[in-house]
Symmetry: C2
Subunit: 203 residues, 2 copies
């Protein structure tokens, strides 16, 4: 296998192994085996599991549809709905069994002082900042309930989403995700009534 | 050390190691070392790390103030506030660094088919059921917004709490917990205005 494609194979294998089994439980040998690579080749491509973990976190964070939130042409409430619908579709592909990779890694490595820990924290901070952009635009339009700065409302939404992804994984049920769309999202944003998510309307 | 106290020492050490370092990263040797016990003695007391994990999950689940939710003499909104204040105080003892043990374990082992996985799922289910008791009482009193069954509202609250604990751990900040009390909790329950948590009022 060419060096380039071997590196890509190791990256792809690591993404799957880390997401399915967690950070600590995934060894370099398992990643190499899944990639069909000799174990010794791993260190030709990555200096450490920690360094590879950082790449996987950055790759995952870049695939979460954050661009939807930052599009100035979109209507802010619609951008928020489409963003969370995008995340839901991603989690639903494996029936919510793997959960959010960032959340999983945070549960394992947060406050460990490792590079993966820092990458997870930076990714969450960037995501919460991106959520605050459409929330801030809603606030400017006077479309939010009184009380709660946009960054606080955005962090409340983001936290609730991560919790829903975790509980869906833990309980083996899409229920917590459905509740996010039917209860948490509309109420945090003061929409005043249970709001049907677009996927329930066939959208 | 007597057999009984050695077992207790191993249980206490396991609770700390699992909470600080996660399930996969914690080995039997580390637990024995922290307990000041010979490694070989571990298996005199527990058949496996999985079996010990189940005991730790059950012990942790039993220490989360669920009784506050089930007290029929309490006012339901007050019971919910006091329950989450209790959880907040517990997380604040280590500056939110360890997060919720059940959430951490769920992120690692959910859907693994192990006994720890089952114990985590059962503990979360029991907690969400307990949250639904005061929420149901609020609904009976007509004190909840229209839309959303009590079990859905309870699950939304519980999910949002777990997400706040996870993001507080991930970002190294109490902010997500503060947002839960100031934004998420009052809005999910339709309290209509940001509600100051009792600890901000010196309660």
């Amino acid at each position: 296998m060419a060096q380039r494609s071997l590196r890509d194979a190791l990256l792809g294998a690591a993404a799957t192994e880390f997401h399915e089994n967690g950070y600590a439980a995934t060894g370099v040998a398992a990643i190499a085996t899944r990639a069909g690579a000799p174990k010794g080749s791993f260190y030709n491509h990555f200096p450490s599991k920690d360094a590879l973990g950082v790449l996987i976190v950055e790759q995952y964070a870049g695939s979460r549809g954050t661009d939807i939130l930052l599009d100035p042409a979109s209507e802010p409430l619609d951008a928020l709905r489409r963003h969370f619908d995008y995340l839901r579709s991603d989690l639903a592909r494996d029936d919510f069994a793997r959960g959010c990779l960032l959340g999983n890694f945070a549960a394992e490595v947060a406050r460990s002082g490792t590079r993966v820990d820092t990458a997870v924290r930076d990714s969450f901070t960037a995501w919460l900042d991106a959520l605050a952009v459409p929330v801030g635009r809603l606030a400017e339009h006077g479309a939010l309930p009184a009380g709660g700065r946009p960054d606080e409302v955005a962090r409340a939404l983001g936290s609730a989403w991560e919790g829903a992804a975790l509980l869906a994984k833990a309980t083996g049920s899409a229920g917590p995700i459905d509740d996010f769309f039917a209860v948490t999202f509309p109420r945090i944003l003061g929409l005043g009534r249970p709001d049907l998510p677009s996927h329930r309307l066939g959208g």
